[in-house]
């Protein structure tokens, strides 16, 4: 029992929690991005995909709950870590210089907070429609919820698009450090593979950023257009 308590309260377990929940969230992001890219296949493909997800019913809620738990664990653990780290050095240096630590690694808490705020807004915007109740009333010709038009309408607002674009850049910045860091925390560090892990971190972060960014940019530049019959509110 003492061993279990010690394991649960140890600093290394906190790191492992950050890495493991982060891994699940990165995999979710890749899936979410792949789903979003169906915007390029047109209204029918996008709405079919959206309806398939909604059709999962109970399973959808299980997935949502699991992701929510991952996010909450990630956030709570990061606050615990930050609090402990803040207390570990009561007197700051008068002069501070960093030799190696990247800007991305030193700003994880700030990019993290901004991403969390963005996720809250994003859910209110496109999932719950709290900010734009009219989105709930959009239906396509087959009577399905018209997710395609909702996204185009959403991103037609330049200000909203800019918020999404800024958030994705911050997300990539967060992930540059996060993905590489995850390997180290889980004990993967080898001279032979470290350059590959570094490259993977940059690549995955960039893919996620470009994939998500391409949609608001596509709408703003008119590459993704509203189908006939939907009026811009």
């Amino acid at each position: 029992m003492a061993a279990l308590v010690r394991f649960l309260t140890s600093s290394i377990l906190s790191k492992i929690v950050m890495a493991a929940t982060g891994l699940v969230l990165v995999l979710f992001l890749l899936g979410h991005m792949a789903g979003n890219l169906q915007m390029y296949l047109g209204q029918d493909a996008m709405n079919t995909y959206a309806e398939t997800l909604q059709g999962l019913g109970g399973l959808l809620w299980v997935i949502r709950a699991a992701l929510f738990i991952m996010l909450v664990l990630h956030v709570i653990t990061s606050i615990k870590l930050k609090w402990e780290n803040y207390n570990a050095r009561p007197e700051q240096y008068a002069m501070r210089k960093y030799v190696r630590a990247s800007l991305s690694s030193r700003t994880m808490i700030w990019t993290g907070i901004m991403i969390f705020l963005f996720v809250t807004y994003h859910l209110l915007h496109f999932t719950i429609h709290a900010t734009n109740p009219a989105y709930g009333g959009l239906y396509d010709a087959m009577g399905r919820h018209d997710v395609y038009s909702m996204v185009v309408l959403g991103y037609s607002n330049v200000l909203i698009s800019l918020v999404y674009i800024a958030a994705m850049i911050l997300l990539a910045f967060h992930l540059f450090h996060a993905i590489e860091s995850m390997f180290q925390t889980l004990g993967v560090n080898h001279e032979k593979y470290n350059p590959f892990i570094h490259g993977l971190s940059l690549t995955v972060a960039s893919i996620i950023m470009v994939g998500f960014l391409s949609i608001p940019i596509g709408v703003l530049f008119g590459w993704i257009e509203l189908p006939a019959g939907v009026i811009i509110l």
Partner: protein, 253 residues
């Protein structure tokens, strides 16, 4: 060589402490940084002022006593160099230099630039050893150890326990120190018997001492005067996870 020094002065652990500016002249570029401070202290003593207290012992870069943060970098700007081996030729005439102690809650300042680093000793007492029966000296090479493992064990054993890793870390984490001490035994057959208990007990003691958490800045590796690699931290993370899941009874202290 004439220099302007901003030095942390603090009378005792309870004292508030502040940066004080001093001018020092007649510095020769072949002097080490500590010898430069000796020159300053001689001047202060002649002026009947309190000399600046700082830790030093061997002045050969192997004891781990010297512990200054120079211009925001523990052990100063030279790679893999302790402050006693940092020479004034790396500075220019007229330079302004900030001299501060290693800062961490776990390393309270005793006076000026001297910190109490016994937290490291307590971590070592928690598991940084191998238990062996006394008796005759074993035959050399009676236990085969591969060259690679022997080298890795030696690389980690090079840690002098100075605490620069803690001082450099944004979180004041002691992970590089503790991982070097875990790794130096993990690579050797003699270290296997107590391997799981060692990592669990040393990490537990590290947490009790109030160090911060590792967030993989790798600033520790960059300032380490002995070039300890953060690969040791990954090894410790692996060992900790494995030991936590498999050690049936951890020895609590």
């Amino acid at each position: 060589m004439k220099l302007k020094l901003h030095i942390w002065r603090q009378k005792s652990t309870q004292d508030k402490g502040k940066m004080v500016t001093y001018e020092v002249d007649g510095i020769i570029e072949d002097m080490s940084f500590l010898e430069m401070l000796d020159v300053l202290n001689e001047k202060l003593i002649l002026n009947e002022e309190e000399p600046v207290a700082f830790d030093h012992d061997c002045r050969e870069g192997i004891c781990g006593a010297c512990s200054l943060t120079i211009n925001g970098i523990p052990h100063g700007p030279e790679k893999e160099t302790t402050i006693c081996q940092l020479h004034m030729r790396h500075f220019k005439d007229g330079d302004e230099i900030y001299v501060e102690p290693f800062r961490a809650r776990a390393f309270p300042v005793l006076r000026d630039l001297v910190t109490d680093r016994t937290a490291f000793d307590r971590i070592m007492q928690a598991g940084g050893f191998v238990s062996a029966n006394t008796g005759g000296i074993p035959d050399a090479n009676a236990i085969p150890i591969s060259k690679k493992d022997a080298d890795l064990a030696m690389d980690n054993a090079a840690c002098i326990g100075c605490g620069a890793c803690v001082a450099a870390c944004k979180n004041a984490s002691a992970m590089l120190f503790v991982s070097a001490k875990v790794a130096q035994y993990a690579y050797l057959p003699q270290g296997q018997t107590e391997r799981k208990r060692r990592v669990l007990n040393m990490v537990a003691q590290m947490d009790r001492e109030g160090f911060g958490n590792c967030t993989n800045y790798y600033e520790c590796e960059a300032v380490c005067p002995k070039g300890i690699s953060v690969a040791s931290i990954a090894l410790m993370n692996r060992d900790f996870l494995r030991a936590s899941l498999s050690e049936e009874k951890a020895l609590d202290r």
